[in-house]
Amino acid sequence: MEEVKIGIYVCHCGLNIADIVDVEEVTKYATTLPAVVVSRNYKFMCSDPGQNMIKEDIKELGLNRVVVASCSPLMHEPTFRRTIQEAGVNPYLFEMANIREHCSWITEDHKAATEKAKALVSAAVRRVYYHQPLEIKEVPVNPNTLIIGGGIAGIQAALEIADSEHKVYLVERDPSIGGHMIQFDKTFPTLDCSACILTPKMTSVGMHPYIELMTYSEVEEISGFVGSFKARIRKKARYVDEDKCNGCGVCVTKCPWKANSEFDLGLSERKAIYTPFAQAVPNIPVIDTEHCAYFLKEKCRACEKFCELGAIDFEQVDQIVEVEVGNIIVTTGYDSFDPTPITQYGYGKFDNVYTGLEFERICNAVGPTSGKIVLKDGSEPKSVAILHCVGSRDENYHEYCSRVCCMYALKYSHLIKERTDAEVYQMYIDMRCFGKGYEEFYKRLSEEGVNFIRGKVAEVTDRAINEDEQGKLIVCGEDTLLCKTIRVPVDMVILATALEPRSDAAEVAKLLTITQSADGFFLERHPKLDPVATMTDGVFIAGCCQGPKDIPDAVAQASAAATRVLALISKGRVELEAATAVIDEEKCSGCRICNLLCPYSAISFIEDEKVSRINEALCKGCGTCVAACPSAAITHRQFTMEEITAEIEGVLV
């Protein structure tokens, strides 16, 4: 082996490091370490002059290992690896000592910080000594993309990618795409008609030559890695032949059996064979086997008789489709919080207490009341209270703010004012109108004469204490600005319910090996600088599955995720993890312990030779198998026993 020549560069990071750590002392100390040829310090190592300093030393002094003592490797390891690579040194012959995040920023004790910095430098030097050059392998990126969830976010991402003539598989669980947005009547703050802006996009998705739309379908299994994933998708039986059906809907008209409409949240009925709403994409009905007379009692078949195209197919079975894609975008959205557990608000107990989403349907021109804002008995409400933060900003339910409720509450106030003569009360804690045009919308509603009462409602009751309250719902709480407890008798109560993670978010996370943050939404790679990527390369998130947000934000994220995917497609290849594990087949006893441990099934047993072997393309380099091998037959590149021992020795100087 050629002689090891190590160069050390201690960064001041302006004053971030140098203020606490004595960089001169560390630099001097480094010269005493084995194989160190040069040791320098500089104001900003990551700047061009800093990097050039390293490059020049490599040229002049023949360095073949480099240590930079500065910030976290998660910040600048890629930068310096590139630097030495440009100077002709294998990028893996590099090590970083984190003397900022783990040292100068966590203590004010100069002496302790300097000692710790020395130890970290000594560890890095000892470890880099044993580093071996690693080969960077690349694999091609499959240009197809899988998008899971066909709400506005999924639709947006699908169209952006497909418009660049790359194939998209869009998988939607419901019979139609559209998500929550298609349930709305108007959208804040502009009050555009939701269907008017969304249906054209839905139609484009349905007709796009580069989008293969799979509705009434779910992804069951994902394998592989960035660039080449395989997905197994279950297309549930619709009992209607998609190729034959032309969407005439005669089957729906003729079907004599009914069930509650999911789309209208149980506020209306649909048939046993149905499309969730008139503008559904695709416009192909499904048979709900739990309510169809044929599936329940083996009689009827009315739909079949009337369908002239013979599209009804009672023999249809679920289909399993396998697709290969290079990237995945998850856009599974949110669930609306169920307020039943907050018994004091009387949801489910009183007739005229509604959730936000239910009220969207009531407002909707094609909803159960044809857009008339009416009570259960059909009469118009004379007063309506909207309760904010139901399930949000509340440790007993969700600690976070759902971000859109204040705004949709204002939207409702407007719609109620526009369509009825009712008094409207907004019972809020804080008005959060942060977006573009939102504060202006709030102002407009104030002008429209809405009553704003500051205080979280304690109870909604029907126990009247005077004449005026008879037959009303009485909203009780404190008006915190008046410093008085109040009782407001109203006819209708709307609960501005929270947005929460999908009930199956944990399973979806597992399927994709992505993580959830403490609130249950999917975790982005970095909250500020990498909001649509996840810790799993090639898997992106957009829309409300990442956290509550409004439509503009969901769309922006979707476009961002699409761009990230397109960037990978256009580059055409991805680097594989180089620090993988390898089995020394001489030492392997064939015990197979490692085979089961590997989370990526990268290890297989070679029957003929009675040894285990690692598929380098699949290995992600976690090291679990290495630690478990009883014969010490597995080596983890860059994390060998030798390297770690040297590092331990180093930190303990």
């Binding site: 976290s72 490797p73 998660l74 984190n98 900022r100 995040e101 783990h102 040292c103 920023w105 966590i106 203590t107 004010e108 004790d109 302790a112 910080a113 710790k116 130890a119 970290l120 560890a123 597992k510 090996t513 993580t515 959830q516 943050s517 403490a518 975790l523 810790m535 620090a579 441990l597 989370p599 990526y600 992600k620 380099g621 976690c622 090291g623 679990t624 290495v626 630690a627 478990a628 983890h636 994390f639 026993m641 770690i644 021992t645 590092e647 331990i648 020795e649 930190v651 303990l652």
Partner: protein, 141 residues
Amino acid sequence: MSFEPKIVGFLCNWCSYRGADLAGTARMKCAPNVRIIRVMCSGRVEPAFIVKAFQLGADGVLVLGCHPGDCHYAEGNYKTIRRMSLLQKMLPQLGIETDRVRLDWVSASEGDRFVSIVDDMTEKVRALGPFTKNSDEEKHG
């Protein structure tokens, strides 16, 4: 001057190392006694590393990974749990007080948790005093 223990920390790259970074980025103050070695996953931590650390002069060893269920490699940390509980049982035989070794979880967003674990561990090890066990005895252990 009071005794300043040396603690070796093995932190996984995906959660705990980021949590430790966050503590720094947020300028939280904590005991400077834990010296961090980054591994890709807590599942990489072999009992041998820990024993080695004590042989080489550590007074304590802290292993941090992602919360169970959150391991970047799906289930590496479950392996760690099993391995560490076996090791915990063997520690007395090796003449190492069980309080000198700790396995815990810190997510990428838990800078504060990282700080409290480090401070707590440092205090405990400080109370135990320096680890003194010559390698001779270890062989008999």
